[in-house]
Amino acid sequence: MALKTDAIGKSWPAHEYEVGREKIREYAQATGMDDPVYLDREAAREAGFRDVVAPPMFCVVYCAGAMAPVLFDPEVGMNFAAMVHGGQEFEWGVPVCSGDLITTSATCREIYEKTGKGFYVFESVSTNQEGEQVVRAVWTNIVRGV
């Protein structure tokens, strides 16, 4: 069966996320990131951040709202029952701190078939309120039996 590839090149509307101190704390505690720069404003300022800083992997939190419509887009048409998260890449720019407003835009980079599996590759770029890039991400989902 031919893989549906219509969504290659498609972009989705930008998503905004406002970063809060307690959300950073919740994420840091759930993932065992115990450095005080994630939890305490004074410690963060002493280390040169303007406020409590988000652990780098907090990007999954502010990207989630941009990625959900991508994954559920009927034009992409992924079969969730047979899907696994195959790979992930993040490249970080300037740090994200409490109070930042992050805007994330996603595009479909590739859809291709290899050894009976469908590979769906999406890219997202997130910037802060100053227009500085905070993370670029490549999300790879694999669907078995396409």
Binding site: V60, H85, Q88, F90
Partner: protein
Amino acid sequence: MAESGSAKRGTELKQGEQIEELRVTPDKYLPHRYAGASGDFNPIHIDPEFARSVGLPGSILHGLYVMALVSKASIDAAGGDPRSLRRLSVQFRGMSVPEQEIVVSGEVVEADGERAEVDLVAAQGENRVIRNARAELDTGAPD
């Protein structure tokens, strides 16, 4: 590229060196806390009955949670400053479960004093759930 104000930069990493292992045993309710923190409430992570109905042994850990552990091991290897982690790529291969120890290990494959590349693996016993992980670290001294 090091930013000022950091006292933790400048960790010396040498090519071929093993980084310090990170060992974590997530408790039974960790997937619930991670679901709340991340917003990923896929029932395979928080509902053992549902997980078993789709052929899993029970609730499984979120892959991105395990990737967060890989990020921590990488940051710790560079001295603890989150700004040192420039890039991290992973492949998810297999599932991991709560209440079993996860070991993140890694080897420095390139280092020139300013930057280091580290290859990492996250495993539960023999089950290497994250493979071919590669972290790029900024290890330059602060300006």
